[in-house]
Symmetry: C2
Subunit: 597 residues, 2 copies
């Protein structure tokens, strides 16, 4: 049975030493945030994740959500866990206190979210989608809509969904065809079919609040003719109780490679006269609202990459400690040892560990910057942090999720033949991880956003500022010796690779956009690797200072330096090859005719 223990020590280190918990706690509205409170939250969340959610992860995979006659039954144990989850207040953690939320900063909810996703990704999708729906209503809902839906969604009594995709639309939302007919009384009747709706139907709560993209009759073609509606499964009576069943029904759920316990619904709206909904915000601005919420959702999926990597690492490490096989290398006739003693198993585990820590560091730093961007009293600080967040969201999403597939695959490899046997559980992490580079915008979509909106449009201003910050860390490393020299050298090579690739993108984006796009995904990976290396180097420098001061757990800090060293030699070392592909790789990618494939 795969256990999960929340990596609280590393979370605390990253929050305090790299992400600036103090600075977040000093923000207006964060007065209650103290180190003790944070520790208490992490401890409680860790208990819930390890004790309640993690043990359900495997049965969730094996049993899966079931569809019959339009109803979806979740996995045995799911409903009780969900009730406990809501009762303990976890659904409300990051929500606005006006509607019953706890209003905690993003940095803290990020660490807690990591735990849910590590423990049981399929479960975590339900509150995640509800949060997205809450955000949409907070952002553009009327007071009546907010009063009707938000308190019960924040408390977890009801859940929410996001209905974007249709069979012919996929990533291209311009092609959305679902239509909304005004009824003259302020309501609309919705007709159409939506696919890939996470927790679009389930038995966890009395009601489900769907947010739906649809077209008004007079809407313009394309992306500028899409509006956002709120369509509850059960209409809500004046007193807030659920009323008549609305005309939205689950036609089927998908048979997927992973996240079996998360029902992925096909929803039919209006098959029996029209599903009743109300407009959110202004007509024809639905896609714009989606884009505003997108940072949040993409960040959360990036966290899934981190979280699954952590889980796969813990799983593989446990196996490597337990599995006795062969003798120590170079010791003839010695006793049998655990496979953790074998250099290649160590290399694989270090690769999993170091990349997971790099992802955590970068994601939490972005989480803290989000708090500063929202709450800091100084407009310049807010703007600077928002620009950093905007730049890094596609990196956190794309890089962490692509990594998670490789890392979960490495986890299978550590298990050898047992990794291929489903009962072992290692394969589930790989299957679950495989969706993360796809949904909420594929890696290509993240990468196009990165090089287009986030770099070319502003002529590289923000990325050049980030590179300057990285150079400062490199200079600090250069003044030291030993492992720090090696880390500094690899980081320096990595930064240079980023600079070369950025220069190419800026020179090419307007002149030859297809050529620029060929390099977009390699560039996203490059920037992720180097930004992760930057944070690992910062961690190593902090660790050195702590060791010099004789503070804290020496073994933990020594490990931070070693892990940064491994990351430098094995992961940062990939940077120059990626940059080479960005700068040189368009010709070969674009020269074939369709028939020559």
């Amino acid at each position: 049975m795969s256990q999960y223990t929340a990596p609280i020590r590393d979370m605390q280190f990253v929050m305090r030493e790299l992400a600036g918990l103090d600075a977040v706690a000093a923000l207006p509205g964060c007065e209650e945030v103290s180190p003790d409170l944070v520790d208490a939250i992490l401890e409680e969340a860790g208990k819930f994740a390890g004790g309640v959610l993690a043990p359900l992860n495997k049965i969730g995979d094996q049993h899966g959500a079931k569809w019959q006659d339009g109803k979806v039954t979740t996995v045995p144990g799911w409903k009780a866990a969900y009730e406990q989850f809501a009762e303990a207040g976890w659904t409300a953690l990051a929500c606005d206190p006006q509607y019953g939320g706890q209003g905690l900063p993003k940095l803290i909810s990020t660490a807690v979210m990591e735990m849910w996703k590590s423990a049981n990704m399929a479960f975590s999708l339900c509150p995640m989608l509800t949060n997205g729906a809450i955000e949409a209503l907070m952002l553009r809902g009327t007071d009546a809509q907010k009063d009707m839906y938000l308190p019960k969604m924040v408390s977890g009594e009801w859940t929410g969904t996001m209905n974007l995709t249709e069979p012919q639309a996929g990533s291209d939302l311009a092609a959305v065809r679902t239509r909304a007919e005004p009824q003259g009384d302020g309501t609309y009747k919705i007709f159409g079919q939506k696919i890939f709706i996470t927790y679009g139907e389930h038995d966890l709560t009395d009601n489900i609040i769907h947010l739906v993209l649809a077209r008004l009759p007079d809407a313009p073609e394309g992306v500028k003719g899409i509006s956002l509606f709120v369509v509850p499964k059960f209409l809500v009576n004046e007193d807030g109780s659920p009323g008549a069943r609305n005309d939205v029904h689950c036609v089927s759920i998908e048979h997927k490679l992973g996240i079996h316990a998360s029902p992925t619904a096909v929803l039919a709206f209006g098959d029996s006269g029209g599903a009743i909904g109300t407009l959110v915000g202004e007509p024809n601005r639905g896609l714009e609202y989606m884009f505003i919420m997108m940072n949040e959702a993409r960040f959360a999926v990036g966290m899934e990459g981190l979280a699954l990597s952590e889980r796969a690492y813990q799983h593989a490490l446990q196996y490597a400690r337990d599995r006795i096989q062969g003798t120590e290398l170079g010791v003839r006739g010695g006793p049998k040892v655990s496979i953790l003693q074998h250099p290649d198993v160590r290399r694989m585990l270090m690769s999993m560990k170091s990349q997971t820590e790099a992802m955590r560091a970068l994601a939490y730093v972005v989480g803290a910057a989000t708090d500063l961007a929202h709450l800091h009293p100084d407009e310049g600080v807010r703007a600077r942090n928002q620009a950093f967040v905007d730049l890094m969201i596609p990196v956190v999403k794309g890089w962490c999720t692509e990594n998670s597939v490789d890392i979960a695959s490495t986890g299978v490899q550590v298990h050898g033949g047992m990794g291929f046997i489903e009962e072992t559980g290692a394969a589930q992490h790989l299957r679950d991880a495989r969706i993360t580079p796809i949904y909420e915008g594929t890696t290509a979509i993240q990468a196009n956003d990165l090089i287009g909106r986030k770099i070319a449009r502003e002529a590289g201003a923000t990325i050049q500022g980030v590179v300057a910050e990285m150079r400062k860390v490199q200079a600090e490393l250069a003044a030291k010796d030993g492992d720090f020299t090696a880390i500094g050298r690899a980081l320096g090579n990595g930064i240079q690779a980023v600079e070369e690739a950025v220069a190419y993108i800026l020179a090419t984006y307007n002149a030859d956009i297809k050529a620029a796009h060929v390099g977009s995904v390699p560039f996203l990976k490059l920037l992720g690797i180097v930004a992760g290396g930057w944070q690992m180097a910062r961690a190593a420098l902090v660790a050195e200072r702590k060791l010099a001061q004789g503070e804290g757990d020496a073994a933990f800090y020594q490990a931070k330096i070693v892990t940064a060293r491994f990351y430098a030699d094995h992961v940062l070392a990939q940077a120059s090859g990626l940059s080479y592909a960005v700068v040189n790789g368009a010709a070969g990618a674009l020269a074939l005719s369709d028939e020559q494939f």
Copy 2:
């Protein structure tokens, strides 16, 4: 429904222009091999693979082999396909004519094997394992054993298995505990349990011939006390007909991530008095025999990596051609286009295509070298080719299989959200591929063999000869311009990376074997990438010559040059990072104590 069309044009190109089909055809014993014969075999095999085996691949995955009360039922359609397969003579292709085989060279059977594995990997494992058992009996069986078993195994009337692993043994065969008790009449009673036995039980044939590693009562400890036995499911009567049921039974089959249609059996020997077997070869030399056959088996699994990559590529390409989504980049308001027009989809497909072609080229070159090593009249030529084969087998096995996981994963990504839906079929290739870097020796085991037995033991003699061959190709490229300059530059960087890594391994192997082993898997990937790039460069040079001569299909040859260019910029570009990890990566990998993980 996923189709498979055997890539006959590329196979012919590689066989003729890169692997030296003419030289193979000129070998003693290969007199019948003509271009026409080869074309006819490829065409017939292609028809069988595409028409009979490929359509069963998906139902094989969905239905899976079933175990009940000790019996295994294969997937509906399997038995009929197997009978056709045997009737058409495909089981006998590479076998000795003395026992009914066709004795065709390895180069040809390699191409045919690729087709079976692309079309239906789970099916292909049955004849593959039978071939392994045939090899073992050919190698060390008595005349009586050969006469009893080989004709029916070659004809496909019976199948064979290899029984090595036990629960406590895994990759460490020194730990094998199954025992063999001599009965004084030349037979032995076998007692023990074997796991992970591919097609260890099934309903395709009347009899199954198990080759089993076990210990004699007086055997020394460890690897030098293991003997090889042949243990049929049904004892064989004097007249060759199946007699009494032997005491070997299938206790269960595994529930696996992939290759669901291939029954992976747990076999119990001797639960009711002892399974009767006879000794193959001399006592206590079983592991040595296994090692002799290992090249064959490892090569075959390497071919699975190639074959699944080809299948995943074809699947993704078809989807990319069919799926209409978005408009052409840079064209506002233009018509919707297929996703094949999007630069990142093109990059992904080129990545799949170029690596698949590089693997095919290297594997076939190794296949042809095997023929030369076995059959060439000149002892020096035989030895040189054998050394090349020995060096390259772990690379073909490790590199092609690791690639196949990435390539099948990229295939899922090309499909977007549909890739995660099992009905689409793209995910099956990923699940099937995931076993290939594990069985028949994990990538780490291949890599240890590569740097130890194949490089350090002979002080790098063979690898340095290969590097010299690569340098010649690089020199030829350097004399040209355009794409060839780019290919030559990337190949040159790759060769230098190999040289640096080899120098490190030679300097370190005896001084610090753990440090050398940390770099072993990165080195294996490095050598695979560069050896593949060497073959791609050779292909581009051939294509240029053909184009200059106005010979053949110009579009095909132009595509060869473009594909080599892509491989150079995107794949060969990774070489320096891998070399860096080999040379610098030991310190970070080995410095943590067990507790610090």
